[in-house]
Amino acid sequence: MKDVLRMAWILGVVTVLAAAVLGAVNHVAKPRIEEQRRLALEQALLSALPKADPRAIVPVYEGDEIVYYKGYAQPDTTGLVGYAFVARGAGYSSEIETLVGVDTTGQIIGLKILREVETPGLGTKIEEVRYGEKDPWFQRQFIGKRARQLAVDKDGGEIVSVTGATISSRAVTNSIRKGLEELEKRLGGFSKTAQQVSD
């Protein structure tokens, strides 16, 4: 019995020690991790709304849920450049999440795929950056398009799908179209002309 108590005691001490060490490390690392997360979101939002000021992209809530973001050119939230929202669609083996930015007229100005677990080399080509290029060719096609133009070539649309991964391509395309239509409904329609943004 005494033995058991001794061992429990040792084990307890070791565990508490370990927890303490980890607590310390966590204390140092946690801000970094959160910073990284924030940075990742900021990066994504910036690729969706390239002209917005990083400090002036504000979430719009509906209840607890962020339904879209508004991006402004100035840090004092003036000069609306557009909106950003997350589109979700079922791909081949995962739900694909895309952050999409549109200007005030509903024309896509940027996008970034946030999450996707498609087949490597097949579905993941929706994020492929060809050698010597800077951005993913598949996503580049969406820039400048509006909701009604969004359909993959197989469905008679203008988006060239990734060969052998029509399902993934279709998921991205259709989810963005749906998201755009929803946003339009929420906003009560896009404006006819683009806001003049002074740099």
Binding site: Y92, L122, T163, G164, I167, K178
Partner: protein, 348 residues
């Protein structure tokens, strides 16, 4: 009388005339009508593909046997059959290296690595196909050459793809329309419905082979000629194809329709795709199917169930290859748990 030492051997001292080479070459012969059909429907390209697949299978087998210092047994015809069946499972316009690599994989990693003929647990030709499909899906899923005298899908539309492909696409549209009403344009819905009904009437094309698809799978008629011969020779056991095709028919009839239970079209599902080729020539590969009578029933029905699952809710329009490969995995268990009753064991 001459006084010599006679040769001895154990009984029996007779045998029927069957031998492995004879069986294999006759199976190859029974596949000939479908091969000739493939060349007729898809042109000289088909002959070239078949030749490359067979040659690569034989060369790989010989090379590995030589490397291992084993007797070279390519004359027994089993590698020929594997190459042939692999070629029958390829689309008409694959690049030349596809059949070569596919056959090499089928023989090397599907068969010889286990010790060669008789020891491989899974169907080599189908492994070759599944390997190609996973490696170069774009080449393996492109069906552009319409067969002579027919169209790719068996109906008069342009949209590429085999009948099963088209069916899957059309059903996807209908499903989409159902879960998200109002989102799919009415014109697309009616188009999909038109496609389905036209597909369901294309029995003639499907039976004679005037539809798109892999080289050897399209003509049910030509395949049945070979199958009848094999059944007559008792090289294949009717239980597997009957269990297989029967369960596909039953399940597609029950669950294949869009208007509820028992509205599917079983005849279409039986005639379309590689079911007939698979059920008569590939699921029956004796090396990779159960040896016991009850095991054969379960094997056939299992293939049918998985095929239907894949066709109806799976990621592929066609499920024959994978269903057979998956059931191959259960063969040792089936053999073990379906042993025939030993004479005198039942009645005690």
């Amino acid at each position: 009388m001459e006084d010599k030492l006679w040769k001895v051997s154990t009984s029996p001292h007779l045998s029927d005339r069957e031998s492995i080479p004879r069986i294999m070459w006759l199976v190859a012969a029974s596949l000939a009508p479908a091969g000739i059909g493939a060349v007729y429907f898809f042109g000289a390209r088909a002959a070239w593909t078949i030749f490359l697949a067979v040659a690569s299978a034989i060369a790989t087998e010989a090379a590995i046997q030589k490397l291992r210092g084993k007797p070279i047994t390519v004359h027994d015809g089993s590698a020929f059959v594997t190459g042939l069946l692999l070629a029958y499972n390829l689309p008409a316009e694959v690049p030349f290296w596809i059949p070569i690599i596919g056959s090499a994989f089928a023989i090397a990693l599907g068969k010889q690595i286990f010790g060669g003929l008789g020891y491989n647990p899974m169907n080599p030709a189908l492994l070759g196909r599944a390997f190609l499909l996973a490696s170069w899906p774009t080449h393996m899923t492109i069906f552009r050459t319409p067969p002579r005298g027919g169209t790719i899908s068996g109906i008069d539309v342009e949209t590429g793809a085999t009948p099963l492909n088209l069916l899957k696409q059309a059903q996807d549209v209908l499903h989409q329309a159902k879960v998200a009403p109002g989102e799919v344009p009415a014109q697309k819905i009616s188009e999909a419905m038109m496609h389905i009904s036209k597909l369901y009437e294309s029995y003639g094309n499907l039976f004679w082979g005037k539809v798109g698809g892999c080289l050897g799978e399209t003509s049910v008629f030509l395949l049945l000629i070979g199958a009848a011969f094999l059944l007559y020779k008792r090289y294949i056991d009717l239980r597997i194809p009957v269990g297989y095709i029967g369960s596909v028919a039953l399940l597609t009839w029950a669950f294949g329709g869009s208007e509820g239970l028992f509205t599917g079209n079983p005849l279409f599902h039986v005639l379309a795709g590689g079911l007939v080729l698979g059920a008569f020539f590939m699921a029956t590969d004796m090396v990779t199917s159960p040896i016991t009578p009850r095991g054969k029933w379960i094997f056939g029905i299992g293939c049918g169930v998985i095929t239907v699952i894949i066709r109806l809710i799976g990621g592929y329009p066609e499920g024959v290859s994978y269903s057979i490969l998956l059931m191959n995995l259960t063969v040792p268990l089936l053999d073990r748990y379906t042993k025939p009753a030993i004479f005198g064991a039942r009645k005690r």
